[in-house]
């Protein structure tokens, strides 16, 4: 009896198994200005809570999990629950604590500010 209880407890404490979802690459636009790099990624159906962004050692990883509720009987299915994931190399000069993300209309907008040292400086030319 006690064995059985232990087994049930273990099952309940199992982490969510998102690993089994198929992984696909979201389509991405990348923009830049003097102050920051801006990234737009299509992630339809992904909730804000299911997005993760990691910037570490020049490596940016964005991922988002979409879980579709499947009610009724399926007539056709062209998209499903999925994990969007993509990895980029980013300059080491990104100011990581100031990285900002927003999710709107199924598009992740990621703002990667450049550290002060990496911003272009305007050099004044003095006449001799």
């Amino acid at each position: 009896m006690s064995d059985r209880k232990e087994m049930i407890l273990k099952e309940e404490s199992m982490p969510e198994r998102t690993k089994e979802l198929p992984v696909i690459a979201p389509l991405v636009d990348i923009f830049e200005n003097d102050d920051q790099i801006l990234l737009h990624a299509d992630m339809p159906g992904v909730a804000k809570e299911q997005i993760s962004v990691h910037v570490d050692n020049g490596r940016l990883e964005i991922s988002g999990v979409r879980k579709l509720d499947t009610s009724g009987s399926e007539i056709w299915k062209e998209f499903d629950s999925v994990e969007y994931k993509r990895v980029f190399s980013v300059p080491q000069s990104i100011d990581v604590p100031k990285v900002n993300a927003e999710l709107k209309d199924g598009v992740l907008k990621l703002y990667l500010p450049k550290a002060e040292a990496a911003k272009p400086k305007v050099i004044e030319i003095r006449s001799a």
Partner: protein, 148 residues
């Protein structure tokens, strides 16, 4: 000498063809799911799911980054047409490094397995997915017959 040059060109041409085919293969692979994978063209419009919940048909359409003002829905009987436009959104003051999401207009139309009541269709756009709830027309609903 000229023969050799043309041979060389031909070889490069073959390499280009191979590279294009590989690129296409990989871009399809990127967008594919390992279930229900059938090499359909993804450029043909947004992806859709259709299910039957008894009284309703439920149609879900992937439309990331598209505003509801830019989507047109037309329904008649058992015919549904969804069209719209993905507009350019180059943020002000930025230069573009990589553009994959694109801007395009699209149309997809379907013949549903049964007629729906177009007057009572509900459409919700949330997180880039448009969900249509299509009530079945009375004539299309299952009737329970009492056996005497």
């Amino acid at each position: 000498m000229w023969t050799r040059a043309s041979d060389f060109d031909r070889m490069l041409g073959a390499m280009d063809l191979f590279r294009n085919r590989m690129n296409r293969l990989f871009s399809d692979f990127d967008r594919s799911y390992d279930k229900d994978f059938d090499w359909r063209p993804f450029e043909g419009g947004p992806l859709t799911n259709l299910s039957d919940t008894g009284g309703h048909l439920k149609l879900a359409v992937e439309l990331p980054g598209i505003l509801k003002e830019d989507i047109t829905l037309r329904i008649q009987g058992n015919y549904v047409e969804i069209s719209g436009e993905k507009k350019a959104e180059l943020p002000k003051g930025y230069k573009a490094h990589r553009l994959e999401r694109g801007t395009s207009s699209f149309t997809r139309s379907f013949t549903l397995p049964m007629e729906v009541d177009a007057e009572r269709v509900e459409a919700v756009l949330k997180e880039g997915i448009l969900t249509l709830s299509l009530p079945k027309a009375e004539a299309a609903k299952l009737k329970q017959i009492t056996i005497k």
